[in-house]
Amino acid sequence: MKKFFNEFLKGIIRENPTFVLALGLCPTLAVSVSVTNGIGMGIAATFVLLGSNIIIALIKNIVPARIRIPCYIVVIATFVTIAEMTMKAYSPALNRALGIYVPLIVVNCIVLGRAEAYAQKQSVLNSFFDGLGMGVGFTLALILISAIREFFGAGTIFGRALFKSFEPAFVLGMPSGALLVIGLLLGFFNLLKMRKEE
C-alpha cells in the first residue's frame, strides 16, 4: 500500500507536472485566470489522465510498438470527449469559460507524457495511482496559479470580491501576467529544491 501511496504522492510534489516537469503549460497559461476555471480544468485533466493511464496499462501488451502513439491518442481522445460532453451537459458556463482548452486536453503533454513514460511500462494499479497523483498535482498547481492571478488581477476569489478598496493589477489577468506568475513560482520551487539538495 505504501508503494501506491508513494506513486500518488510523487505527482504532487517531487514530480509535479507543472512546476517540476514543466508539462502542460499551455492550458495552465490560458485558463488560470480564475480559480473556478483552474479547478474545472484540473478535474477534467485528472479524469482523462486516470482513464487513459488505466486503459493504456491494460492494452500495453497488445499494441504494436510502432503504432502506439496513434492508439494512445484514440484512447485519450475518447476520454476527452466524455469529459467534454459531461461538462457541456452539467456545467455549460464552465465549458464556455474553458472553451477550446477542453478539447485540447487531447494534446496536453502531461497525458501523453505519462502514457509514454509510465503507463506503457507499469501495472494497472501503479498507473492508476500515477495518473491520480499527476492529476491532483496539476490541479493543485492550477489552483495556486489561478488563486494568485485572480486575487491580484481581479481582486476576487471564486468571483467574490474580498476587499472594497483593493485596486487589482490588471496585468495579472492578461497572458503576460500568467507568464510572470508561472515563471516566479517555477523559480521559487527550484529554489526550494536546491535548498533541499544542499
Binding site: 485596486e167 493589477a169 490588471f170 496585468v171 503576460s176 516566479l184 523559480g187
Partner: protein
C-alpha cells in the same frame, strides 16, 4: 586572496573611475529635470520622487539581506532606478503607485536576474510598463502645469492621437516643460543640462541618443498627417519622453550594446519602434516599449557587431 590573483584581459589600463562614481554622477545629472518637474507640478511630484527612491533602496536592501549577498545600495544604481521610475510617472498618482513600481523594478527587473549588470531590461522601465499595464487609469491621467489643484489634462501626444490638438502648443512651451506629462520628461532644458554634464565627463556618447532622436524626427517628418514629408518633426522630438529616454534610459550601460556600431543599430531600432507606436500604435507614446524591445535585442546585436580580435581573421 583568490580575487587578487585573477588577471583581467589585456590591455591592463587603470582608470580612476568606478561604477559607483559614474552612478552618482548620473544621479546628479538627473537632479535639474526633477527640480523642474517639482517646480512645474508642485509638491506632489516631489513626494512621488522620494517614495520611488526610498522604496527602490529599501527593496534592494531587503532582497540582498534575504539572499545573503553583499549590500550594494551605495553604488547608487537603485537610486537611479527609483529616480527614473518616478520621472516616468504622472505627478498626481496615488502614493502606492511609485512604491509598487519601485518594488517591481528592483525585484523583478533587476534582482531576479542576479543584480546589477545581469539584468536584460532597464529596471525602471520594467516597473513603469508593469504599472502601465496594471493601473492604466492612474498612469494616463496627467495634471496641468502650474495648476497645483490637480486639474487633469492630456499630454500633447495623447491629444494628437485623439485628433484633438487644435491649438498649436508652442515649441518654447514644449522645450521649457509647460505641458502635461510625466514628472521628469517635461522640461527638455533641464534634461539637456544633465545630458551635457554626462557628455563632458564622457559617460555617454552620441552613438545612442543622437541617432535615436534623429530617427524619430525623420520618421515623424516623412509620415506626416497630410501625406508624405509633412510631419511636424520638432513637435515629435520635443514631446513625450523621448529626450529623457534617449539620454538617460536607452544609454544604460547594462542593457545597451557594447560596440559603437551596435549602439547606433540599437538607437535606430528604438527610434523606429517609438515612431511606429506614436504614429500608428494604440498608445500615444512608445519610448518605454521601444527601449524595452531593443533591450531584448541587445544580446543579438552584440553578437553580430563584435569587434574583430586584433590579428585574427
Amino acid at each position: 586572496m583568490k580575487d587578487r590573483l585573477i588577471v583581467s584581459v589585456s590591455p591592463h589600463l587603470h582608470k580612476d573611475e568606478s561604477v559607483s562614481k559614474i552612478m552618482w554622477l548620473v544621479v546628479a545629472s538627473l537632479i535639474p529635470a526633477g527640480a523642474a518637474g517639482v517646480f512645474i507640478f508642485g509638491i506632489s511630484a516631489l513626494s512621488v520622487i522620494i517614495l520611488g527612491v526610498v522604496s527602490a533602496i529599501a527593496t534592494e536592501v531587503i532582497l540582498q539581506i534575504l539572499t545573503k549577498r553583499k549590500i550594494t545600495i551605495l553604488d547608487g544604481s537603485a537610486v537611479i532606478t527609483g529616480i527614473l521610475l518616478a520621472y516616468n510617472l504622472p505627478p498626481q498618482v496615488p502614493f502606492w503607485i511609485p512604491i509598487i513600481g519601485a518594488i517591481f523594478s528592483i525585484a523583478i527587473g533587476k534582482q531576479v536576474f542576479g543584480g546589477l549588470g545581469q539584468n536584460i531590461f532597464n529596471p525602471a522601465l520594467v516597473g513603469r510598463v508593469f504599472l502601465m499595464a496594471s493601473w492604466p487609469r492612474y498612469m494616463t491621467s496627467f495634471t496641468q502645469p502650474f495648476n497645483y489643484d490637480a486639474v487633469t489634462s492630456a499630454t500633447p501626444l495623447a491629444l494628437l492621437k485623439k485628433g484633438k490638438l487644435f491649438e498649436n502648443i508652442s515649441y518654447l512651451d514644449l522645450f521649457l516643460g509647460k505641458r502635461g506629462g510625466c514628472i521628469g520628461e517635461v522640461c527638455i532644458l533641464a534634461l539637456l543640462l544633465g545630458a551635457i554634464l554626462l557628455f563632458i565627463k564622457g559617460y555617454i556618447s552620441w552613438h545612442i541618443p543622437i541617432p535615436y532622436i534623429l530617427t524619430v524626427g525623420v520618421f515623424a517628418y516623412i509620415f506626416g498627417p497630410k501625406g508624405l514629408l509633412s510631419g511636424d518633426w520638432l513637435f515629435h522630438i520635443l514631446s513625450g519622453g523621448l529626450i529623457l529616454g534617449a539620454f538617460f534610459m536607452a544609454t544604460d550601460y547594462v542593457t545597451s550594446p557594447l560596440t559603437r556600431k551596435g549602439q547606433v543599430i540599437f538607437a535606430v531600432g528604438c527610434g523606429i519602434i517609438t515612431a511606429i507606436i506614436r504614429l500608428w500604435g494604440g498608445y500615444p507614446e512608445g519610448v518605454s516599449y521601444a527601449i524595452l524591445m531593443m533591450n531584448a535585442a541587445t544580446p543579438i546585436i552584440d553578437r553580430y557587431t563584435k569587434n574583430r580580435v586584433y590579428g585574427a581573421g
